[in-house]
Symmetry: C2
Subunit: 540 residues, 2 copies
């Protein structure tokens, strides 16, 4: 027997309608390419979304078609976030930091019909252009109306195009299972793989982001997504902000520590989210140029392990509580998070700070478990480590264009590739990426644990650990360190002695395996590029 409740589909047009009507006056602030701030409201933006839908339809975009973006976080990108899925088409956000061959690969693989590109990013796209499909239509997002001259064949200028747009046809009926978005993983292993989000998964994820025990985005917030809109829907924040009526501040291409710190102060940002390296840059900036960042009530770290040292420094130097969020492209992404004080401890309690380096409990709606190499479930004892598996209504069930994939076995649980423990209270702690574990004489060494410990040394700015083959130990850890002061780097023996306080002798890197470097290579989404580090080691 069915219930007798309304069959309202969980589709993104409802979020747009809410932003337009209930939160029509709430502000959306975008930093333009020239650094100036552009101010609009959800109401004005929704009116432009209507025009954009008409323009896309006039260009021939039909339900199911893929429309790509190649853009920083800005109001035009946000317009595309709503117009494309509300037409029934699929928003494919392309990572602007990819190499030209990867860009060409994923645009072809996705079968994009239209590609909307920031004027400033046209050169990056032109490098890939010879390998892009001939029929692809380009639209250039620009502040001065000269996008058509940007050098892309047959390109339309976004503003001119919108100005001439016919009104959109009658509302397209949307099914909640329909595809709404497409995002490719950064592909540190193998080819990039596409995750095809549905309206339902995206709307449920936005609801989740508004829950107290998840990200907790609320109407009272001013949200700064530093995480790019080309990266897993900027962690779902644009949709969540529109749903709850939060004010949005979009930083454009200005992602340096000073620019972000200035934006937080000037716009009284209360909620900001990005990868740890970004918050390290902002922290360094604030040390050089003190600013009032007291408006920040929630600073979300995600996309990489959160170093304990950064949690401590933000808490103690600036009184800003760090939230660690765990997720992946395949999980929409928010899968687990830990807030300051969520355990009942004070935010500056060392035990609370330790917990905030961990994902913690899965957010409401998601389920987690760990399995051994044989696929059997392992106990939640906080000790036994196994591969983390998750399931839930905003977890992928496969990759776009792949009939099957080993990450999606028949048991219905997505295999994350993270190695984790789960404690009796359901809290997850990641010990490593499966492929980054170091195997020494049959025992595992966690590269992440060594990195976090190294970061607690006062002379260390950044740290990365990868394995090198070793005739005696099978694999041995190599520690790359960026010194805080290049003129006075910490002696390798000091660093090893520092680590020896926390690790057994057999897990330590040898002194010769400590490498002082100027920088640690990062992937296109800001994670440490261990694949490249290993290649450098191999190539000497």
């Amino acid at each position: 027997m069915h219930g007798r409740m309304m069959e309202q589909p969980l589709t993104l047009d409802a979020i747009l309608r809410r932003a337009r009507t209930v939160f029509g006056d709430r502000e959306v602030v975008s930093r333009r390419a020239d650094g100036a701030l552009h101010r609009t409201t959800y109401g004005q933006l929704a009116a432009r979304v209507d025009r954009l839908m008409g323009a896309l339809q006039a260009l021939g975009v039909r339900p199911g078609d893929r429309v790509a973006t190649f853009a920083w976080n800005g109001h035009r990108h946000l317009e595309l976030y709503f117009a494309v899925p509300c037409l029934g088409a699929v928003l494919h956000t392309v990572n602007v930091r990819l190499a030209p061959e990867q860009i060409a690969y994923i645009v072809q693989h996705a079968g994009d019909a239209v590609l909307c590109v920031d004027r400033a990013l046209v050169p990056a796209l032109l490098a890939a252009a010879p390998r892009l499909p001939a029929g692809l239509r380009y639209v250039v997002l620009d502040d001065d109306g000269r996008g058509a001259d940007a050098g892309l064949p047959g390109a339309l200028d976004y503003e001119a195009w919108l100005a001439q747009a016919p009104p959109p046809a009658a509302a397209v009926p949307l099914d909640e299972h329909q595809a709404a978005g497409l995002c490719y993983t950064s592909g540190t292993t193998g080819e990039p793989k596409g995750v095809l989000y549905s309206h339902r998964s995206t709307v449920l994820h936005a609801f989740g982001c508004g829950m107290v025990d998840s990200l907790g985005v609320a109407q009272r917030d001013t949200v700064l997504p530093v995480v790019p809109m080309f990266h897993v829907n900027a962690w779902g924040l644009p949709y969540a902000a529109a749903l709850v009526g939060a004010r949005l501040v979009l930083p454009g291409a200005h992602l340096g520590g000073d620019a972000l710190a200035g934006l937080i102060e000037a716009e009284r940002v209360t909620f900001a989210a990005g990868v740890p390296t970004v918050w390290n840059l902002v922290l360094q900036s604030l040390r050089r140029h003190p600013r009032d960042v007291s408006s920040l009530r929630r600073l979300v770290f995600g996309g990489a392990p959160t170093p304990r040292a950064l949690v401590e420094q933000w808490q103690h130097e600036f009184g800003v509580p760090v939230t660690h969020a765990w997720g992946m492209t395949e999980t929409s992404p928010v899968g687990a998070c830990t807030h300051a004080g969520s355990t009942g401890l004070a935010p500056d309690d060392p035990a609370d700070i330790t917990l905030r380096g961990r994902p913690g409990r899965p957010v409401p709606g998601l389920e987690a478990r760990i399995v051994g190499d044989d696929g059997r479930e392992l106990p939640w004892d906080g000790q036994t480590a196994g591969e983390l598996c998750v399931r839930g209504p905003w977890v992928a069930s496969g990759y776009f264009g792949h009939a099957t994939h080993e990450a999606f076995p028949a048991d219905g649980w997505f295999r994350t590739g993270d190695v984790a423990t789960i404690d009796p209270g359901g809290a997850i702690a990641i010990t490593d990426r499966k492929k980054d574990l170091i195997k020494s004489r049959g025992e595992w060494i966690s590269s992440t644990a060594l990195e976090n410990a190294a970061l607690l040394h006062p002379g260390v700015l950044e740290a990365a650990v990868v394995a090198r083959p070793d005739p005696l130990r099978d694999e041995a850890p190599v520690l790359f360190v960026v010194p805080r002061d290049a003129a006075a780097p910490p002696p390798p023996a000091d660093l090893v002695a520092h680590l020896a306080a926390s690790f057994p002798r057999w897990q330590l890197p040898r002194r010769e395996d400590v490498r002082l470097v100027d920088a640690i290579p990062k992937t296109s989404v800001g994670k440490i590029d261990k694949k490249l580090l290993r290649r450098r080691l191999r190539d000497g």
Copy 2:
């Protein structure tokens, strides 16, 4: 094109699984009939839910069958909340305050197969028993294992029954559209009508309850649902608490002001929800017997208009911020709510307190509009009043066993029967129940506005306004007042003068129409029974 996301159904077994595994150690406290506190955990409770499912199956309960409860808020009622829908059956919560003929009507109308009744409520049920179906199986919920002797034909004792239960059959596959719960409206007009909740609507509502801008139930909370579990799923709080892992405190039959105030103090309740009359009783108790209620961070008023005076008194005397929530049986029920300070004002700012007498913005997921008598949408200007209509995934689309009903017209919006304005920011203010408006010489008078103003008079404890026919004015308002001090009631002329400060002369009751009474009659869910007041007026 469909997305490629997991098709995890939105079903209540997922909430039970989460409570069992992630929050297995969190406490559920219940006040027994004898006043003692029973303590268990979600983990222990889930194990008993398993036994209960086996017992229900052995009794012949199959998917789609209705299992009724006739019980106060307690741990056994909570076990039924999970076991019945997780079997695929439908939990029908019967209002224990109904008259015997209404109880018999809805049990017959629902077609209940089993009825689970608190031992202490057996006498109330026996009054209806002659008219209950012959085949109905009774289960008596009791602390001392003697439920079988309670005087109901063929009754089982819940604990003895559970002790002998076979293990449940393999998990029943659940569809999210399947019916999960059934609750009848209190029926102040016409016969009670049943709302048939689905798993989907119930799970989405639970998600909503965990959002910051809705009720905001969180893991850190200790939740006291004073609102009965026989009344719209206790506003969804049991399911929301289990989803987020909040500690639950269930007050049983002990609903007096002293008992509740004592429970709040002893169990350090952070979140409590009930009708305004309950919070008035608790306030009076706290004035007589001061207690430490500083743990309360959210006190939710719902089910009736929130008198401004109560918001002020709770805020100023006890520093407890009141949240006003608006909803109906047909809306699961949470439809709109306003928290202290949600507008950016201080919680003790008079303007903020004014706002908290109103529903405010619809919660994320719900949409609202107002329509005129001709069904056309009216503007959101904060002035124009019309019938409030809502829609969303946890709003009913019809009544159980009624093919159609005028509250569910073909336009897809549920007509609430409330008269409201909506301001340009989407905030709803209820001006009256449609049937309680008073029409004087072609102009409307709001009974609710007069009641709220009367409550601001220091001599008034309770107030109610209904219309009487008037030869000159068509209808005239009659004000019923319960004096704060029966020995020194406020003179009617004083009360009229007090109202004259806020209302035009033609809206005022005449002095002769002010009636000092000992009590104001309430419906079974604690609302002012205006139907009865009108009848008393008519009958002199």
